[in-house]
């Protein structure tokens, strides 16, 4: 079906009043769900599934998809205001977003997050519409060696996130790798590092570590000082309540970067929004003129990852709708939902159900606009949260963290783990160990190990498989280059000193 006529038909479906309403309900719910740490789109969609049986399928999928990408908008709110990641993909937003809030630019941060999400989300839908089938074929050629190379590239970015001490950053990353391997090994069902506890059999939840190290570590660190009356400067004046034109100009590359990387990583069944946001952040830092200021509150450092985790939703729908292969947890539930309603996503889905597909695509354009309109005016409102006196704000942050973790798993053991990681986060701050590499190692660790072992199983032990395939060879060489950058820097410094003396 011709794209233009398909799209026009799609808009006819999406603009039907009932579907418009469901779209709004979906994106609104998604935003709320995204703001609350712990509760995520998969759980919400699963709980709403029985209610959707009585709805028409188009409206139902429009609503559920709205929850999916709407949550990505909301996830940045607590990340920026409280250093509490709303969901795993929002962890990277905490790095610069929270620092911006500390400098009184919370409004600009929240605003740019919404705008970047809109731009990238729309690009993601465009990509879904225009290049889905050929891109899906390309994504299929990605297998374990390529995934390993991708994750290595991501992990090599630790060098860029290092701050002052490379050694400490690498140690943090290795620590993250260790935490990632706690649990049952997939290939051999050996339990590793479980200390005899059955709760550790399936590993430690990413969000527990992220909230503990980021949010609790921050709060504990701030509680050292007795005399602070107000933590964060309330944004004063319109300049700080919303991003300025200069900000938007600064973020031009970040918008493009986030959109493209998020979408591409999303199309990979083994990808995910966390690695997409890390890669996008790393790339932004690598090419930015202000790269040394990343981590202190640079606006591109918010725009890039936020964009990436939004366009990733468009990308993740590509394998789902063109091949019937779910990439992430949420797309797996969307797949289950489609199956429950009697549709079977697969290569024949689009040709056989064009109204549903194009209706969904059109609704995503509309939904992104709705979200922008919903979120931007709320920015000044949310920023006022920072007016709260510190002695109220910290209990609030602690409470949100506790509820967030408990709602994800219902486990008091996880709350105990949260305490442990909170203490760890505080110690890391005092001892100058950067937290981002730890989170990076944790996010990539298990995927990387799996991909490596799968690759070696495929090649029967030949390491050459990693470099004999073009895509993985390219990415691995890039990773090596990135890792060697600090070495070049040091060699240069020695050389200069030798010349001077």
């Amino acid at each position: 079906m011709d794209i233009l006529s398909g799209l026009l038909n799609g808009f006819a479906v999406a603009l039907a009043p009932a579907n418009l309403l469901w779209c709004f309900v979906g994106v609104f719910l998604g935003t709320v769900v995204g703001v609350l740490p712990g509760l995520g789109p998969p759980a919400t969609i699963a709980m709403l599934l029985p209610l959707t049986f009585s709805m028409n399928p188009a409206g139902a999928i429009i609503m559920l998809a709205g929850i999916y990408y709407g949550a990505k908008y909301g996830g940045s709110t607590t990340s920026i205001l409280m250093n509490v990641p709303g969901e795993s993909a929002s962890v990277v937003t905490c790095i610069d977003g929270y620092q911006m809030a500390r400098k009184g630019r919370a409004g600009a941060a929240l605003g740019i997050a919404a705008i970047a999400s809109f731009v990238a989300g729309t690009v993601g839908v465009l990509g879904l519409m225009l290049v889905a089938p050929p891109l899906a074929k390309f994504a299929l050629s990605f297998s374990s060696p390529e995934y390993f190379a991708l994750m290595s590239l991501g992990l090599a970015l630790v060098v860029l996130l290092a701050g002052r001490s490379i050694v400490k950053a690498l140690l943090a990353a290795l620590f993250g790798l260790w935490i990632a391997s706690i649990g049952t090994d997939l290939f051999s069902t050996n339990s590793r590092f479980t200390f005899g506890r059955m709760e550790l059999l399936s590993g430690i939840d990413f969000i527990v570590v992220a909230i503990g190290v980021f949010a609790l570590g921050e709060v504990l660190g701030n509680m050292e000082a007795r005399e602070e009356t107000q933590l964060l400067e309330v944004p004063k004046g319109l300049r700080n309540l919303l991003p300025t034109w200069q900000d938007l100009k600064d973020c031009r590359f970040a918008f493009a970067n986030g959109s493209v990387i998020g979408f591409l990583v999303g199309t990979l069944p083994g990808g995910g929004s966390t690695i997409a946001s890390f890669l996008s952040y790393g790339l932004e830092k690598a090419v930015s003129r202000r790269r040394d200021q990343f981590g202190t509150g640079v606006i591109e450092g918010v725009a890039a990852p936020e964009g990436a985790n939004n366009s990733e939703t468009g990308g993740a729908l590509v394998p789902l709708l063109t091949l019937g292969i779910p990439g992430s947890g949420t797309t797996a539930i969307l797949l289950a939902a489609l199956v429950l309603w009697g549709f079977k996503p697969g290569p024949l889905f689009i040709p056989e159900h064009p109204d549903l597909f194009w209706g969904l695509v059109a609704s995503m354009y509309i939904g992104n606009v709705m979200l922008l309109v919903l979120n931007l005016p709320l920015v000044p409102l949310f920023a006022q949260v920072l007016r709260m006196p510190v002695y109220l704000l910290y209990p609030l942050i602690l409470g949100v963290s506790l509820v967030g973790v408990y709602s994800a798993s219902g486990s008091l053991f996880d709350l105990g783990l949260l305490m442990v990681f909170g203490l760890l986060g505080y110690l890391m701050r005092k001892l100058d160990y950067p937290a981002a590499p730890l989170i990076l190692g944790l996010a990539l660790g298990s995927g990387m190990e799996r991909a490596l072992r799968q690759s070696l199983m495929m090649s029967q032990g030949e390491l050459s498989i990693l470099v004999s395939r073009p895509i993985s060879a390219v990415m691995l060489s890039l990773a090596v280059v990135i890792l060697l950058i600090p070495l070049f820097g040091k060699l240069n410094a020695w050389r200069l000193r030798a010349l001077e003396s």
């Binding site: 609350l36 509760l39 002052r164 001490s165 050694v167 400490k168 690498l170 140690l171 290795l174 620590f175 790798l177 260790w178 391997s181 090994d185 290939f187 051999s188 050996n190 590793r192 590092f193 609790l216 709060v219 504990l220 660190g221 509680m223 050292e224 000082a225 007795r226 510190v390 002695y391 109220l392 910290y394 209990p395 609030l396 602690l398 409470g399 506790l402 509820v403 408990y406 709602s407 219902g410 008091l412 709350l415 105990g416 949260l418 305490m419 909170g422 203490l423 505080y426 110690l427 005092k430 001892l431 100058d432 160990y433 190990e449 490596l452 072992r453 799968q454 070696l456 199983m457 032990g461």
Partner: protein, 154 residues
């Protein structure tokens, strides 16, 4: 090795991480390193354990080498405040099973407001009640998410 801040913390954390590295290596040794079907569960941990040990040793050595340079001395008063806050948090979580979320969280808030920030008792009490009630209303009632409940029934 150029380190921005060299405190004695580097020494202790280096030693701790080196010990962790040794532990990881010892554990990984007990698992299969490699099998005809591919690398085993001991493969990856062994390598990052070795990496951890090597880097931690590097940290310790570089600290001992430049031992004359220290950053700010540790302000133990401030650290004690932070740690006591952590202790209060941990205790309140431990109390969830007995008192439930709402009551324990109220106690925690009271502690933070009254003891950590030295606000008057009335402010502390009101804050404790308001935040705990707020969480209950928003999460338990409005959103239907169950919070840990203890013997008090909520």
């Amino acid at each position: 090795m150029e380190d921005g801040t060299r405190k004695s913390g580097d020494l202790w954390s280096g030693i701790a991480l080196a010990a962790l590295g040794v532990y990881i290596i010892v554990q990984a040794w007990q698992w299969e390193y490699s099998s005809p079907e591919g690398p085993g569960p001991g493969f990856f941990p062994l390598w990052y354990g070795i990496g951890m040990l090597a880097l931690a040793a590097l940290l310790v050595v570089s600290h001992l080498r430049g031992a004359a340079v220290y950053g700010k001395p540790a302000d133990w008063k401030r650290i004690a405040r932070a740690l006591s806050a952590w202790l209060a948090l941990a205790v309140s979580v431990a109390l969830f099973k007995i008192l439930g979320f709402v009551a324990s969280f109220a106690l925690l808030t009271y502690f933070i407001v009254a003891v950590m920030y030295r606000r008057p008792v009335r402010t502390a009490a009101i804050s404790a009640f308001a935040t705990a009630a707020g969480f209950y209303l928003v999460f338990e009632l409005a959103l239907g998410m169950s919070l840990p409940s203890g013997m008090l029934g909520f």
